[in-house]
Amino acid sequence: MTIDLTQFHDAFFEESFEALDSMEAALLKLDIGAPDKELINTIFRVAHSIKGGSATFGFSDIASFTHSLETLLDELRSGTMQVTLAMSDLLLKSVDVMRAMLRAVQQKKPIDAQKVSDLQFDLELMIAQKDTAVASAPAPAAPASAPAASASAPAASGSAPAASAQAAVIDAPPTATRWQIEFRPFPELFARGNDPLRMLRELSELGSLETTVDVNALPGFAAIDPQSCYMAWSLQLTGAVEESAIRQVFDWAEGDCELTIKPVGESASAATAAAQGAASAKQPAATSAPASASATSASAASAPATSASGPSAPVASAPTAASAPAAAAAPSTSAPATAPAPAAPPKLEAVPKAEVPIEKMADSGSIRVSVEKIDELMNTVGELVITQAMLSQLGSKLEGTTAEKLRAGLAQLERNMRELQETVMRVRMLPINVVFSRFPRMVRDLAQRLGKQIDLKLTGEQTELDKTVLEKIGDPLVHLVRNSIDHGIESPEKRLAAGKSAAGTVHLDACHRGGNIAVEVSDDGGGLDKNRILAKARDRGLVGPNDVLTDEQIYELIFLPGFSTAEKTTDVSGRGVGMDVVRRNIKELGGKIELRSDLGKGSKTIITLPLTLAIVDGQSVSVGGETYIVPLISIVESMQLKAANVSRLSGRGEVFSFRGYYLPIVRLHELFGLEPRTRVLDEGLVVVAEGEGHQRIGLFVDDLLGQQQVVIKSLEANYGHVEGVSGATILGDGSVALILDIPGLIRATNIRSAA
């Protein structure tokens, strides 16, 4: 049996990113003048746990950087350093760097070593300057950790420099204590991803360490299980070290070893008192610790113990796989493995490593579930919906009293199904705040960089969206907000001169609107200058010199690829690749985007999105005996044409007049090669549908059938892409209907009329 630690990587990355988010939020909340101790603790714990986790998995670059960060934070935590604006900025930068490193490792790409070492240097410089900045009580363990931090500076390979051995010989400052540590790992310590070498190395950085190894349990070579640990250690650590610091070193091995820490010598009594204090504070957790510490299933351990160990909350949530590494279990229980007497350790219970859901103690009872499971659930529910529709249809054809009862039952079933479907859809939905929360930091940085003053307003953050939609809405929103700040909001001087407040407002809002989600980004900046846009478009030949465009049409020009009216492109936005990509992204989500503006007053971008990607509200139409679905979101109106309203324009084919415009008529039967019920326009129906940017067409169909919610099935999985068709669905009678893609149809029509 060999261990593959990579199975735990995903959980580590996920949790680390989350932890970094909470660290960032805490940093932004931190009041420099009167810093909240809890916030500082939160920040410290994040650095500490990421350090431990990355060390476990051998991500030495991350571990090393985080170690320096942790050192600085420790100073902050123990009050030997005070928070300054410079420090806060440095810490925020560290968050960015850590995110980048994690991402690089996750994607198996190289880390930007220069950036990392530069920032690490800044961190250590700040730590080193501590003594000049604050003249107060001698800092515990600080001198020992500083050289250790530089000794573990990022190197290309993960090899431990010989310097760490030297770190053990540092002179302890006068207030030194000597500790006797008994460290007896259980055999499965290795299997849990722990390495005593790493822990002893950390200890050696706290003070001067003497090691005595006990190999009595080491069997003959042939009998050795290479994955089991048979060695134990007696250690003496001398230095200005607190017991809690020592315990922290063994955090990750919680439950996988026997650990005794005893003070030795004159300072014994003082240290014991401190230890007692610490131990009793941990009593509530300790009572459950012995039992839980011995359980092999880390998940069982973290559940009861976590409730008592508030401080470790950010990392309390463990991965869904119950065979969680000690990495997950350890920080959740701060109680020592053996609280009272160092008697024989509780016998290990062989708890089967079955799939056990892990409670995330931070909020009230939620479970982390993999996206695949939810997708499966949604598929099954989708199938149920189809089956129920089939049954309903069959039921409607039956006669008799039994048939009546059956129909009543099926109607009930349909109501149940709708509820089930909605509930399952909601499972995948998350509040848009997940995305909105990115913005305070981004806006602050950007405003600083561009010398603007921005007030960010967030409303409707609790509006829920499907997870997949949520994931893809972030980038477009970022681009829009950047645009607002960069091009929309004027500089404070200009604003004052214009009689506005010096600070501009950027407002992000989300709400449910008519079965869809509406997300708005608005600002009270200068608005869009139609004349400039028109001029630019004319410059590029996108618009003829004599064309007359409505306001809407002018704003639409912005969505053309390569278009940008920025005077000079900053590196933030204005590269001109933005808006067309934004629109494409929104379109892929099945939504649409429009611009509104008031010159001098501000602009507003409105994004409309469907609630979910898997289901669409559609209008069924029949053409030549085939049924097609037109997404309701695209439909403007359905009507019967009067021959008088139809004309033929040269170069544009058949058109009809609608609300003051001429729209092309798309004969679906021609496009699809079908035999329609009628070819006479006023004997059929026309569905006015809208594609991108207010482009409208009239779809000529035989009849309108019902409206219903349909489950989107992929046509491309087995067949391929068809222009004008976005997917397929299964109707109540089991047959397949194609779902139309209006923009695609518009393209297909344009190509044909151009031909």
């Binding site: 199938e383 189809i386 496009l671 046509l715 999985a717 087995n718 067949y719 397929a728 299964i730 397949v736």
Partner: protein
């Protein structure tokens, strides 16, 4: 549709083949690729599809294209009757696994084919390449043409034409 006749036992190097009838010939496909067999039902047409792709059907919730093999082999078109059968097969390619339904006249037995008994396919002359024919094997009193389903249907249905040679692998 005939029932399963008992399969004859042969040597180790054998595999099972589902045989079916099309026109005057009997063909065979690897049983491991067969997902299911069903009767004919009306398909939904796909715009601008090649002529031998009749449309799509709902198969256990998936949208599966239905291919008329007669057209593929440039035989005369037949009527689709109550006994016309669709064999749903999996085609494997670099793009992954795709399911298709092929319309045939009728399904015959599942037989064990001894690899040693398979003879090479003869040159079919002007009709085109025979990449999709694995070989010929005698079964009872006739020759079964063994088909390579991956090559027969290929990966890109949307670009195949009826009398084309093998699609890109």
């Amino acid at each position: 549709m005939s029932s399963n006749a008992p399969v004859k036992k042969t040597g180790d190097a054998s595999h099972q083949v589902l045989t079916f009838v099309l026109g005057n010939e009997t063909y065979g496909v690897d049983i491991l690729r067969v997902q299911e067999i069903r009767g004919w039902s009306a398909v939904t047409k796909i715009p601008h599809a090649p002529p031998h792709v009749l449309g799509v059907l709902n198969l256990r919730g998936s949208i599966v294209p239905i291919v008329d093999l007669r057209m593929r082999f440039t035989l005369d078109r037949a009527e689709y009757t109550a006994v016309t059968v669709i064999i749903v097969v999996s085609v494997v390619s670099a793009a992954g696994r795709r399911d298709f339904g092929v319309v045939v006249d009728g399904v015959s037995d599942v037989v064990d084919v001894d690899t040693e008994e398979v003879k090479a396919a003869p040159d079919l002359g002007p009709k085109g390449s025979t990449d999709f024919i694995r070989g010929l094997v005698p079964v009872s009193d006739r020759m079964v043409v063994l088909l390579d389903i991956d090559r027969l249907i290929g990966t890109d249905l949307t670009s195949l034409t009826g009398d084309a040679a093998v699609a890109a692998a």
